[in-house]
């Protein structure tokens, strides 16, 4: 089923939910102010559902808005978003009965920056990007170029375990299989791992020197749901508010640890970063470490206790 059909179905479903009073609001995506972008749409007005869109640019993980929302919400969720929702349910941050999950199977999100690099063109010069099957057709200056989907997806989509939501009330469209390319999705991490500690230190120094501590990563992250973040505490002051790169690094280091066992590798933090710091390099490293050490992947199953709370009395000492 093409995106446009899913979009039509979604609009109908969303309208129905609001008309029947099954939800208080719909949380979805609408077209952004720039080409190839979308922006979250939160609405209680049934006519607004006509603005809902489904396309390869629905990058936001809307579950980040759920914490603190009262009443019933109809939420549009891709596979990774549904995992975040499950993770929030495990932490008892949202109740399942307050959600109507409108699942959309997602073949992967398109990273426009990758398209720009491959075609050597700016975003403004691109006229259209459409995805069909495992091909992406880009139109620029009236000329069509076909690209393989795996070349233009976000890195985290290449490592996707769950393109089709498993927790949903309505599934719009047919289940998708992942465009798996784990090697490509980990390329940056392996490069870093091969470096000496000194080189890694220099690498992160370069990256975190650009951080302005805008906290967009934290605000975009569905797993970052603390009412008061540790960076804002003043007694004790864990992180100084001065613009030193080590403090920026410490902020991100601790943030990454705080979301261990909750992070589903949705890549929202990295996309939110205005300084283009490769934050997913850290979160994916942590995600893989959690998988390797504790055989745990967040959001796959709503039943177990959260990772850092659960324990086995029979555990070994090291």
């Amino acid at each position: 089923m093409a995106d446009i059909d899913i979009e039509q179905k979604l609009r109908q479903e969303a309208r129905g939910l609001l008309e029947q009073g099954k939800v208080d609001r719909i949380l979805g995506y609408e077209a952004g102010s720039l080409k190839f972008t979308t922006t979250p749409l939160v609405t209680a007005d049934k006519d607004d559902t006509e603005r809902l869109v489904v396309n390869p640019f629905v990058v936001n993980n809307l579950s980040a808005f759920l914490t603190g929302m009262e009443g019933k919400t109809g939420i549009v969720a891709k596979g990774c978003d549904s995992r975040s929702i499950v993770s929030l349910m495990q932490d008892r941050k949202v109740a399942r009965e307050n959600l109507v999950i409108l699942g959309i199977p997602c073949p992967g999100l398109i990273d426009v920056r990758k398209v720009e690099v491959l075609l050597g063109k700016e975003r403004d010069e691109l006229e259209d990007i459409s995805r069909e099957g495992d091909k992406v057709t880009v139109t620029a200056a009236g000329k069509k170029t076909e690209l393989p989907l795996a070349k233009v997806l976000f890195d985290n989509c290449l490592a996707c375990d769950m393109p089709t939501p498993e927790e949903y009330d309505v599934l719009l469209g047919e289940p998708q299989s992942p465009v798996a390319d784990p090697a490509a999705s980990r390329a940056g991490i392996e490069e870093l791992e091969a470096m000496s500690p000194e080189q890694r230190w220099e690498f992160w120094k370069g990256e975190f020197s650009r951080c302005t501590r805008c906290y967009a990563c934290r605000n975009a992250c569905p797993a970052c749901f603390c009412q008061r973040c540790f960076v804002e505490e003043t007694d004790p002051q864990w992180v100084l508010p001065v613009p030193r790169w080590q403090d920026n690094l410490i902020f991100q280091l601790i943030r990454t640890i705080h979301v261990a066992g909750r992070c589903t590798d949705c890549g929202n933090c990295e996309r939110a970063c205005p300084a283009h710091i490769p934050l997913r390099s850290l979160s994916k490293k942590m995600y893989d470490m959690v998988d390797e050490l504790f055989h745990y992947r967040a959001g796959m199953d709503r039943n177990p206790e959260p990772l850092l709370t659960a324990y086995e009395a029979s555990e070994a000492e090291d």
Binding site: L282, V290, L293
Partner: protein, 145 residues
Amino acid sequence: MATAEFEPKILAFCCNWCSYAGADLAGVSRMQYPPNVRIIRVMCSGRVSPELVVKALRSGADGVVVLGCHIGDCHYISGNHRTKKRMAILRGLLSYMGVDPRRVRLEWVSASEGDRFAQVVTEVTREIKELGPNRLFTDQGQEKR
């Protein structure tokens, strides 16, 4: 002035029920161990959040040791299980950032293991001396806060 040997500052978080008593036993038994370690008593090793460890490194500690009851002996049943998971992730990420993970250690010392406490501290001090001063602190041009 002759350059003195590097004397690291090492912070030890000892849990009240086991490791702190272990350290006490080492003391009353007059066991010798390097004076580089500064002990902070906490009620449980589970209280030691990654923030505390990193804050210590940022504030000038060259190494941090977290000491708790042996697994299965925690006064609060599961505190040390949680520390174990957290510290594993912290060490992995520190290493990924280029900080030597040997600067952050997790050890289990019971109340009767005074000798083990002395041995852990001796070992850690030797290791940190080899590693030299810690970057998270020194990279800023030795500013004192």
